[in-house]
Symmetry: C3
Amino acid sequence: MSEAKENVVEVLASLMEDYAWAIDRDELEQWPNFFEEQCLYKITTADNEEQGYPFGVLYADSRGMLADRVKSLREANIYEGQRYRHVVGRPKVFSSDGAVVSAETSFLVVRTMRTGEMLLFATGVYRDVVSFRGPKALFVERVVVCDSSRIDTLLALPL
Amino acid sequence: MSEAKENVVEVLASLMEDYAWAIDRDELEQWPNFFEEQCLYKITTADNEEQGYPFGVLYADSRGMLADRVKSLREANIYEGQRYRHVVGRPKVFSSDGAVVSAETSFLVVRTMRTGEMLLFATGVYRDVVSFRGPKALFVERVVVCDSSRIDTLLALPL
Amino acid sequence: MSEAKENVVEVLASLMEDYAWAIDRDELEQWPNFFEEQCLYKITTADNEEQGYPFGVLYADSRGMLADRVKSLREANIYEGQRYRHVVGRPKVFSSDGAVVSAETSFLVVRTMRTGEMLLFATGVYRDVVSFRGPKALFVERVVVCDSSRIDTLLALPL
């Protein structure tokens, strides 16, 4: 592997971990800051993707929409009763022109309720377009493709 | 850690991810291409290994046998109703002479049925011998040691 | 990312994997050797931490106490009937002065009983202080913060 490519993988791995960290630590307000101002965030399913359905479970196309989502979640207190724990794989780079990188990363999320109950909540893949133009790597697109088609309405929480 | 060893770990980590990717994306036909022409692929259990039983759940000693296995799986349509998601750990190198590397890597596999049901399917360790002789790192041996002795017949699918 | 920081992450990632390995392979006697002579090892829960309760489920402040724990586990044969499988994330470094590093790492543990039954046993985060002073990186502190407050007494086994 070339040194440059290795470095891209390292930066992406660090970004994936920081992103998961913000959610798992309930620092939701940080979540929109991982995205560019104009962006695409979508949660969908592998079945949906295969059948070419454009719609997903959750859709946002700006950092502002993501911030609104966080605000709603806080107001509804949905987040209070649970914790997430992400485990993410090693990013796989598909294309890179230096400024913009396309990559995919496997993920697994466990949800723990305040009662102590643990649940294997979601597995799937992040399909990302990441900008390396600024001082910090940011998501231009993050499409979360869940393996399971049975989606809990709680999936409205960020993955 | 020396730079050379770090690089071996990087190449192995990339190989592990690519291998898992081929299976998780249902690109099964790619699976035999991760192995050398003459190779060993075996699925077994930790109990079997401890008791020194040589036989496993699945055994193949050539790329051709692996290709045959893929063909059977396709004909039986076993793969249609499910998806796999691998999460693999960081490879641990036990020996390396530059050309051939022995390493072990933890894994966890979640199976998702088309009905949406998710199951923690298997955990264990890959015991690998990898050749670095050619332009691409290839498995000379891949022994999949499952932690659980209760093995689903569906384990006939590659792990 | 600077080269120095990347190297710290690499050494930490290797330490995390070796630690998990010793437990997952039932090489429990190696476990105390990952710690400094005077150390802190504690298992606690996220709820405990948030409410500022100082006590945890398990507490040890020297390598000798950890060795005693291993001895008790062996005598009670608690370990015989089960296996662990750790999957750990990428370490996140919070501070480093070259000699001592503070880092956190997500983890997930699956427990497999000899009957073959698999259980998602624990998820959480390792809060570590690691010394780089000696020839080998060692834990000065390892606080295991479990996401779930429902803790099995079997948690007396190392995590």
